[in-house]
């Protein structure tokens, strides 16, 4: 770990190795990453941005452009990219091709790119993402971009890892009903209509605007890009009002302010500056909130880990015989339901510390 934090040619090597260890054995995170005795000494990124969207929307190309833009703005600050591509459910193999679009940065020591295979993990990410993110934080990446696998409609796990999520669309991928469906559209802080150089991009851009305007308006923070609120009645005043605490308002599960909708062409590098401005605005406004959100998420992760562990342990003790047939009769007779039987058995097991049978 200490090697990875040093400067020089072997530091990257050490960081890369560390990521592999964590990708293969995520439970060793703590042992490998104990860097500083005090939380305050552990470096954290200013921004962890999730980039998601359907396959072929241009996520990698856009990521590549954003990296270039941030490197231009902050030549002294490192940036990390975690690019996830799918593993084959049949062979476990994978072709990770996101780097093809990012080779411009291969010789830039300020850019650390890591490709991950999803390894059967659903939700658009890979289990190893958290570990890689942690290593990137520790080696001083100020910004980390996480590019998900091409997603369909509900793979929004990235919203639980990143501070904010940009959803990338391209024209020609479905009508406005797709935009009404639950999941993906709800997870976006920014909507990027890519391939503005193509026909249909304008129409899609307006479709997204009109879909989003159906959402109730809670926060008021107009700025670069398009603000839906310009057309809405202003209440609450200046952006400053949305600092920590704003999340307590009704701005859905994930959102701190109204989403931005931006039209860009990653290919021709149009609109990238505006997108970067919008991202920076959010980082400046919500940086503190993000930090506390990250801490809250660690609680959630602990909870998930407990549930997973409990499930594993229970499933080994869960018998298949015993009184089950009697329960089946009760359920069929209508006196019990599957849920009521399950609750009863769990209670009994907890009381007597005995295996569930």
């Amino acid at each position: 770990m200490q090697d990875a934090r040093r400067e020089g040619p072997t530091a990257t090597r050490a960081a890369g190795r560390l990521m592999s260890l964590l990708d293969n054995q995520p439970q060793r995170l703590s042992e490998l990453l104990a860097v500083a005795p005090d939380e305050a000494d552990t470096p954290e990124p200013d921004m962890v941005l999730g980039i998601t969207g359907p396959p072929g929307a241009g996520k990698s190309t856009l990521t590549n452009r954003l990296v270039a833009e941030f490197r231009k703005r902050y030549p002294d600050e490192r940036i990390g990219v975690i690019a996830v591509d799918p593993s084959s459910p049949f062979t476990g193999g994978a072709v990770l091709g996101d780097r093809v679009r990012m080779m411009d940065h291969a010789l830039d020591d300020g850019v650390f790119i890591r490709s991950l295979a999803s390894r059967g993990h659903l939700g658009g990410l890979a289990l190893g993402v958290r570990g890689v993110l942690r290593v990137m934080s520790v080696i001083g990446c100020k910004r980390v971009l996480i590019e998900t696998v091409g997603v369909g409609q509900s793979e929004v796990e990235v919203a639980r890892v990143a501070d904010l999520v940009a959803i990338v669309f391209a024209p020609g991928m479905g009508d406005s009903v797709q935009l009404l469906k639950a999941g993906l559209m709800e997870a976006g802080d920014l909507f990027v209509v890519n391939k503005a150089d193509r026909d249909g991009a304008d129409a899609l851009y307006h479709q997204i605007l009109s879909t989003l305007s159906l959402r109730p308006v809670q926060a008021h923070t107009p700025h670069g890009g398009v603000s839906l609120l310009d057309q809405c009645q202003a209440h609450g005043g200046e952006p400053g009002h949305d600092e920590p605490g704003a999340q307590k308002t009704e701005v859905s599960a994930y959102h701190l302010m109204q989403p931005d909708v931006l039209l860009v062409s990653a290919l021709e590098s149009h609109g990238i500056e505006k997108l970067a401005d919008a991202l920076e605005y959010r980082a400046a406004t919500f940086g503190q909130t993000w930090r506390s959100q990250r801490r809250q998420r660690i609680h959630d992760d602990i909870r998930d880990a407990i549930l997973e562990e409990a499930r594993d342990r229970l499933s080994t003790t869960l018998g298949t015989n015993g009184t089950v047939s009697e329960h089946v009769r009760h359920i069929l007779a209508g006196g019990e339901t599957v849920q009521s039987v399950a609750a009863k058995l769990i209670r009994r097991a907890a009381d007597r510390q005995e295996p569930i049978t």
Binding site: P9, T10, T12, R13, A15, G16, R17, M19, S20, N24, P26, Q27, S87, S88, T91, G92, G93, A94, V95, L96, G97, R99, V100, M103, A106, L107, F112, I113, R114, S115, A117, R119, G120, L127
Partner: protein
């Protein structure tokens, strides 16, 4: 925890100025089907780019497709750069239009395997299983 063991990560790259990436893509494909995680970097990459990517990705092996005739120089450069980064344990293999007469020389330089045209998919997989098992 998911106990499935994953096969090695392998970076496939195509140095040189020509755009004939069929061979590189074919190998990427058969490796994927054999369960490897293949990081494909595309065409026209310099040895510097390839090695930098391989180190960040911490792959077990780098596969180079060389059709330009400059295989001695390109393989030599990649091996040298890996050494400079403390990453000599990353195996280097390759294929393409490499005259059989040059194979022993490449192997002497430290190239782990050379697959000339006509190598069967099975023989490539078998060899790479061996190469990557050592470093794992």
């Amino acid at each position: 925890m998911n106990q499935v063991t994953h096969k090695a990560r392998i970076l496939i790259a195509k140095p040189g100025l020509d755009g004939h990436d069929r061979g590189a893509k074919y190998v990427a494909h058969i490796l994927r089907d054999a369960g490897f995680e293949v990081i494909y970097t595309g065409i026209r990459r310099s040895p510097e780019q390839i090695v930098a990517a391989a180190v960040q990705e911490d792959v077990a092996a780098i596969g180079l497709s060389v059709l330009s005739g400059a295989h001695i120089e390109l393989f030599g450069r990649v091996l040298e750069l890996l050494k400079g980064r403390g990453a000599s344990d990353i195996a280097v293999f390759g294929g393409g239009t490499i005259p059989p007469a040059d194979v022993p020389r490449l192997e002497a330089m430290g190239v782990a395997a050379v697959f000339t045209p006509g190598s069967s998919a099975a023989s490539i997989i078998e060899k790479l299983d061996k190469i990557t098992a050592v470093g794992a």
